[in-house]
């Protein structure tokens, strides 16, 4: 609330915080949930997906929800998160991404009576950073990772099989696949490791048939012109399908796909539905669903049931339905049924632990 400066004690003893966090959620109490994104809506992937989780929470649990956009200026992220945490208009604060990991680790202990749900970033549970970071072992903070490598495996498998079978119209003579990453960082490479493994299992040569390149620069996540230029160059080098894992820059990949009469893949949310242009939609074979929204909704529900594991990080994968492959009308139209069946089987094998997908994380 405006005018009421929240003075939170910086150092709180860890046990006290723990009891506070676990004791607070009386079952059935309607929480106020606040999502803080360090960007803006409209990326058609990461943040939009997180926001859909907010909608689910509102619908399924009838919680009060609120969204705060911090925009892309990095200097605003920490104060913005701090500010969101300091105003007493929420019970649970949701945030995510690699960049926010340190900040949330610092801020959560200052507000031991609040809950923090965090996704896709490293929380300093061990308190290595010092300066009050996770001084309460972040006992009021729950962290989730998404096993994008598993979902990426499925996407790679589907793409590779379709390419090998020459099932995709117009690119029957193409043998290569491209991947446009935002930056050359482990978090992004985790997608490509799974993707490559899937392509390899489909019979592609990971050394010669797969081209990976990064947008980089000042603005790796919102430079669609560069994303497009890179994708174009990949199509020219013989790629039939290109996958953009680069936030807003990925939008350029779809345009390049249309111009090259080739195909693309979506990421994070089902981009077949989020892209407006019908020509671009038609190029999207499928999307790697990293269901951040579902993960957030799951956390809310577990919290309501009192079983959310605060103070730890969880890895959500195919088994939890947190990641997967978008099975929409375009997918069923473009991908022959036998390949669809193989992919479904692979998903089951991952759940059963029969297929192990590599990862760059941990």
């Amino acid at each position: 609330g405006a005018g009421t400066p929240t003075s939170a004690p910086v150092a709180t003893s860890a046990p006290a915080a723990k009891t506070a966090a676990t004791a607070a959620p009386a079952a059935g109490k309607k929480l106020r949930v606040k999502l803080v994104i360090n960007g803006t809506l409209g990326d058609k992937s990461f943040f939009d997906s997180a926001n859909s989780g907010l909608d689910m929470i509102k619908k399924d649990l009838a919680y009060e929800t609120k969204l705060v956009e911090l925009s892309y200026d990095r200097n605003k992220w920490e104060p913005g998160l701090e500010d969101a945490a300091a105003s007493d208009d929420y019970d649970a604060l949701v945030a995510g991404s690699l960049d926010m990991g340190d900040y949330i680790s610092k801020i959560a202990p200052k507000y031991p009576n609040k809950k923090f749900w965090f996704f896709e970033g490293d929380v300093d549970f061990a308190g290595k950073l010092g300066g009050g970071s996770c001084s309460n072992k972040c006992a009021n903070l729950y962290s989730m990772y998404f096993k994008q490598n598993e979902g990426s495996y499925l996407v790679g498998l589907a793409t590779g099989l379709a390419l090998k079978a020459k099932a995709l119209k117009g690119i029957e003579n193409k043998t290569k696949v491209g991947g446009v990453g935002g930056m050359d960082i482990p978090g992004i490479n985790d997608f490509f490791v799974g993707f490559k493994q899937g392509l390899k299992d489909a019979g592609l040569n990971p050394d010669t048939d797969i081209i990976i390149q990064y947008v980089g620069g000042d603005n790796p996540w919102s430079n669609p012109a560069k994303g497009k230029e890179i994708a174009k160059s990949m199509y020219q080098q013989g790629a039939g399908v290109v996958w953009g894992v680069a936030g807003g820059s990925g939008m350029g990949v779809f345009e390049a796909a249309v111009e090259a009469n080739s195909y693309a893949l979506g990421v994070d949310s089902d981009q077949y539905f989020t892209v407006a242009d019908p020509k671009q939609k038609a190029t999207i074979i499928t999307s790697m669903l990293k269901n951040v929204g579902a993960g957030i909704a799951r956390a809310a529900k577990l919290d309501a049931a009192g079983t959310l594991k605060y103070g730890t990080a969880e890895y959500l994968g195919v088994a939890e339905d947190a990641v997967g492959l978008a099975n929409n009308e375009n997918y069923t139209k473009l991908i022959p049924a036998d390949i669809q069946a193989k992919v479904t089987q692979a998903a089951q094998d991952i759940k059963d632990g029969k297929i192990k997908v590599d990862t760059t994380l941990k």
Binding site: A2, T6, A8, N75, E82, D83, I185, D218, L361
Partner: protein
């Protein structure tokens, strides 16, 4: 006869001088009022723009106008932002006083942050020195980097707007290159340097006052020192005199024996050193490490701060605080009402436009003059001010 005339002359002069002193106070008062008026007009335009959004315009504007004071952490945020802005504003004001359009503050800031962080990371230093040594190193680096466009302008007559913009871009790329390829620790999932040692971190105000003041830190002391130092430099040293005379009339300065080339070059370089302090504040105070996009166009914001202060070092803290208030208020407006940073940008642009045009001030002056007696005098003065600015424009 000689005696009496001398007496009346000096008496007359005393009276006349008193009148003029009063006139000057009044005239600067009018300047102030007009500046405030300009800001009010700009805010009003901003409000009209906000109204156009339709969604809770009053609430949004309240957030803008009262936001930074509504929570302690926001206050801290304001202090922290103003710290950088004031430093950059001071930096910009130096070369501007020599009528040099040095836009290189952004580059010097990055170099300052980079140097300070590298020194702090790789040179083991005890407390206090852990801050002082990186600071001095950063200032030296900022100085040297700004020397380049300064030299190009003074000795080669190369357009400083182009050279500083180009050098900024080179530095930005270099910064990123070094950060990504050499400074990011193995296994970090984010492109950023390691955390700096605790001995190289500015103590947080939050710890000192035991209040949630966010990342505001003791670098604020540097601001105080820098303001005084720059003021002394510009108003109480020979160098400052030289800079101001070059700004007033470069040919005159040369004629008077001032080594105009050296002074122009140094005005760039000293500005670079001051801007580097801003970088030190960001690296050692705010982030405790280097991150990508650490500056986010602060160099240009500093130009606005300096201009609003009419390049007066003592006014820079005031305009810096004011401008930063708007920026932070804008962020808060953005968070609470989903309109913000961009509206604030619009307001900023309007303020610059109105202030550069100065037509309000001229208008008020003109009106006063037609009614008053001192018309020819003030007209002569404003004529005079028009001369060097026309010259400086030609230089660009």
């Amino acid at each position: 006869m000689v005696d009496t005339s001398a007496i009346t002359l000096s008496e007359n002069r005393a009276v006349e001088r008193a009148r003029i002193r009063k006139e000057r106070v009044r005239s600067s008062l009018i300047d102030l009022i007009v500046t405030l008026g300009t800001i009010m007009i700009a805010l009003l335009i901003g409000f009209i723009v906000t109204l156009a959004v339709g969604k809770e315009p009053i609430k949004a504007y309240t957030a803008l106008l009262t936001g930074p004071l509504s929570q302690v952490n926001r206050l801290g945020n304001w202090i922290q932002d103003a710290t950088t802005l004031i430093l950059i504003g001071l930096s910009v004001s130096i070369a501007f006083q020599a009528r040099q359009f040095n836009l290189g503050a952004e580059g010097s800031l990055l170099v300052g942050a980079l140097t300070a962080a590298v020194v702090a990371l790789y040179v083991p230093l005890p407390p206090v020195l852990g801050i002082v040594v990186p600071l001095l190193a950063a200032m030296t680096a900022g100085f040297l980097v700004a020397l380049i466009p300064g030299w190009m302008k003074a000795y080669l007559n190369a357009n400083e707007v182009v050279s500083t913009l180009m050098i900024n871009a080179i530095i930005a790329n270099l910064y990123q290159y070094l950060l990504i390829n050499f400074l990011t620790p193995e296994g970090d999932n984010v492109r950023r340097s390691a955390l700096l040692p605790a001995t190289s971190a500015f103590p947080l105000l939050a710890d000192i006052f035991n209040a949630n003041l966010g990342r505001a830190n003791l670098a604020i002391v540097l601001v105080l020192i820098a303001v005084i130092a720059v003021w002394v430099l510009m108003r109480r040293t020979s160098f400052g005199y030289e800079v101001r005379m070059i700004g007033a009339n470069e040919k005159f300065a040369r004629y008077g024996g001032i080594n105009t080339r050296r002074v122009i070059m140094l005005s760039f370089a000293i500005g670079g050193a001051v801007a580097a302090i801003g970088g030190v504040h960001l690296a050692l105070g705010v982030h405790n490490r280097l991150i990508l996009g650490i500056s986010a166009g602060l160099g240009f914001e500093g130009i606005v701060v300096a201009m609003l202060a009419r390049n007066n070092p003592l006014l820079v803290p005031i305009t810096g605080l004011f401008y930063s208030y708007l920026r932070i208020g804008g962020d808060i407006m953005e968070r609470t009402a989903s309109v913000g940073a961009e509206i604030v940008q619009v307001i900023q642009a309007v303020i610059i436009l109105l202030i550069t045009a100065q037509f309000v001030i001229e208008f008020v002056r003109a009106r006063r003059n037609t009614s008053g007696t001192s018309s020819s005098r003030t007209a002569a003065v404003s004529d005079a001010t028009a001369v060097p600015s026309e010259q400086s424009r030609r230089n660009i």
